[in-house]
Amino acid sequence: MMDLGVALSLIMFVVFLALILIGYNVAFSFASTALFFSFIGNLLGVFDPNTLNVLPGRWFGAVSDSTLLAVPFFVLMGAILERSGLAERLLDAIGMLLGPLKGGVAAAVVLVGTLLAAATGVVAATVIVMGLLSLPTMIRLGYDHKLATGVIVASGTLAQLVPPSLVLILLAQQMGVGILGLFAGALIPGLLLSGFYALYALGISYLRPGYGPAMPPEERALTGKVLALEVLFSVVPIILLIIGVLFSIFQGIATPSESGAVGVLGALTLAVLAFYFDKILIRAGATHINPRWRLTPKAMSEAARSTANISILVMTLLFASSFFSLMFLQLGGSDATADFLAGIGGGKTGFVIVAMIAVFLLGINLEFLEITFIVVPIFIPAMDTLGFTIQEKIWFTVMMAVNLNMAFISPPVGFSLFYLQSVAPPEVKTADIHKGALPFMALQGVALILLAAFPGIVEFSHDLFVAAK
């Protein structure tokens, strides 16, 4: 006979899923279901409403959490780079640089996806920008549609994994592992995944004629000195900015939020400098650009708007989900799930396998925010029971992030696929986008298995970047 409270908490979870599936606002669904079940639980005598008085303290804890202070800075940094058009220039320059190779434009998309992932950490924006700019080019050059679309969705989704990413900040906050450690642990796995993508794109273009033809000479708008300058001005500064931000976090020179603040300053500076760089390019004989002031009031207010929106979104979800997880805990659902997860058998291995399957299945329908706020609080008690160390938690969290990447491009409902569909030219069939994602999902699966088999990869990455204390 199941305990009444546990049964209620499971029903609560099902009702929550039902509410969000009919399309009710996710954050509001959290709060609404929790309120309803606190009422029912009180009627049935399994919940004491006085417990609700701990909520303000929890909310205040979220408001004063200095981990979350990193959110607005990193979002703002990325939004400035994107709204001022620097992200586009980056794609342009790398495309021209790698275009002459077979499969080169696809490899450029991977490279830019990785850099934008690090700089912006926002999947929707990255996929849309790359879909608008690179997809038409690749189609004109005669790339296979499946390769062209697959590479865009896969690289755009890297934003979830490559630090400094919003996903990692929130996962760190929920897991209680520290941003620094998680960033460091995720860096090499992220680069590994992007290396897989690039090798796949180049490899298949060489092996199968017609998959990714080289850019013919007449398409190469930039050559020689102008190309070199373009790379110097559009690519190098962004790479330096990212390295600087990550380096200062890893070396303990600055906290993540401080680095974020300096990163914003860096992004603003690059947006200002872009105007002068363009003038130099024109003087060097470039004809492909039209120098304009990048840091327009519109770009700045749009960037602030994205930042405010995302901060509000994250905190609303956090307020609502902390009520939900409080109810889940009070009704006994957390303990029951933890006992269940810890008692699957196979100890940590069994737990990791079940957890990964659960995250993948949820990830197809939900986005990372919901998963982070629903699933992680449920996992933590089980992980504590099983005796996960901080290192192991970081490893597990990185695997979760890779897993979410996979869920995000899984046809037919992965979110990245929708973003690309919304900007793809009409000759690109939806079926091609879906089929195109499959090889990249396979690569992510390989990465996931590698990480599971060799936890040392994450540990190595962590120890390599974090200065010894």
Partner: protein
Amino acid sequence: MSENGSDPDVTAVAEELLEEFTRHREAEPIDVPGGAKGFLYRLRIGIEAVTSATGRVSLILVWVVFLLGLFNVVTRYIARFIQQDIIVGEIFDLQWMLFGALFLLGLNYGVREGVNPRIDFWWAAFSNKRKAVIDLVIHVFLFLPFLVMAIRILWSYSLSGMGRSFDGSWSTWKVWEIWEQSTDAGGLPRGPIKLLMLIGFILMATQVVAEIIKQILVLLDREDLAGVAVYEAPLRVE
């Protein structure tokens, strides 16, 4: 990588698309009727004027938080350099408090702009009326009661943070003498930010009332008054 390099139009298209993903536009009503519908409409417009105002404050606070963050880094660096403490504790506290103000004053704005995601698997195919029914029922019977509960429990929490004693009396009109002090050395008082939590939830509740009005107006066949002719698409942040 279009032939002529970076084409400025692409930025514009991308911005439009992102806007489509993130915002809904309001269609101006042709005529405002009298009676109950007119009253509801004017009430909604009134509430949303407040929402817009606090939303603008949020946008400004983004830059303030950034500048303060930068100032914090600089003072920390200088303090290390000259080996003397400057005003680090206060600045750090002020920083998270202003970030708190940013999203607490933006809670209502977030509700209106639909920044919180929906799963639009089935939602996208629903008619506006069905959407309105779903939202109306859950808003009225579950979400608004949650907000009322939250405001009730925050009320005593926030006001005691501001210096109200447990029997409900205010021992002095100079609240800043008795409001909750920070436990950290050099920290700022916690009272005001706790009060902002209460204010944030109250603002959120007012905007939810405005949302309920919108849904009633949609069900009364006055979508033009509801300003939801174009229902918001979900925002996906990743």
